[in-house]
Symmetry: C3
Subunit: 151 residues, 3 copies
Amino acid sequence: NVFMALCPVYMGGTFRVLVGVTGSVAALKLPLLVSQLLELPGVEVRVVSTEHAHHFYNPAEISVKVYTDKDEWETCVVRAWESSRPLLFCPAMNTAMWNHPITARQIASLKDFGYVEIPCIAKKLVCGDEGLFVCEVGILVSKPTSEYGRN
Amino acid sequence: NVFMALCPVYMGGTFRVLVGVTGSVAALKLPLLVSQLLELPGVEVRVVSTEHAHHFYNPAEISVKVYTDKDEWETCVVRAWESSRPLLFCPAMNTAMWNHPITARQIASLKDFGYVEIPCIAKKLVCGDEGLFVCEVGILVSKPTSEYGRN
Amino acid sequence: NVFMALCPVYMGGTFRVLVGVTGSVAALKLPLLVSQLLELPGVEVRVVSTEHAHHFYNPAEISVKVYTDKDEWETCVVRAWESSRPLLFCPAMNTAMWNHPITARQIASLKDFGYVEIPCIAKKLVCGDEGLFVCEVGILVSKPTSEYGRN
């Protein structure tokens, strides 16, 4: 239920951001996220998406290349990610899933790998639950450039 | 190779039992289990089943709603299960699988999540092996109402 | 990304080797491995292969029975492998994947189960990377008969 992993890399004057997205209701926000990232100067965006994520957004609404994960490709990208490059992850799930004891362990494992958590915030969910949700798109957009900036 | 997870919840005078079943030979017993559960007074039953489990029983033989797990739905139900509600699991596999060191770890993890194990018993298996098998259907049926009863 | 697991068993005067192969570039070497194993006296070979592995070799080039893993069959074989019988595994991946912290944990788990690692060697990979690769086919062929020999 990790919604998105952002992998920003600063190369040759350009910020290259790979957005990984999985089948969570939070994937509804992908089109907004991509368009806001593209408003930043010198940012290039690519998306890698599980097929389940397509239930929540229309690839035609995304103005950048979307690679679809047929053969666990998304997992492979993460596995092969160079540890020196930043990887930000944003969990998104309802309160019941969040409270399952496996969640804390999974998040601890991801942090242990050196990944950076963008903590989620409580919000009214699509299913009606008061629940945890991915952080605001604004925070997602500001993170890569602020923390891994060009200075 | 967990065969079944029973999730009994007592709501509004009715015992609602969700039976989760996976692709194990033990799934042969599902029709018997469901019919015996339905004989209990005030019990409602629903089934969530992996597609592999359909090799071992005919959904047409089940008189209640069977949700089929296309998109790892069964895993999601368990992940989102409220920890205050009981979840009983019944491992079922042959002796060689049972002896694999990962089995003890997996069962310990499930118990650690607060799930209740219904230990399996040794039986002659379909494959001819003397092996471990899920407990008798009678025990499965009595557990939810006896331990999480209406008193 | 474990490329191959070899499960040699000595029964009734014959060495029976089950080769498990997964979707790694290293699976290119499967036809060579099988033909070299068959040159050894008194060796019988069977292959169990994931569907992804078929991207890297042509089953028609393999002169022995190839079981294809439709329903996680390969995982089941490993799970049900008798712990008294040898299981050799040969990891194969590029350097970035190898450096991921999960790799060491996974290999430690496999060894903890009593499986024998055939360590990989650095090689020029198909993708152009200088990377880690499965050991030479010659080593793979010699291992089963030398360590679990007929003497």
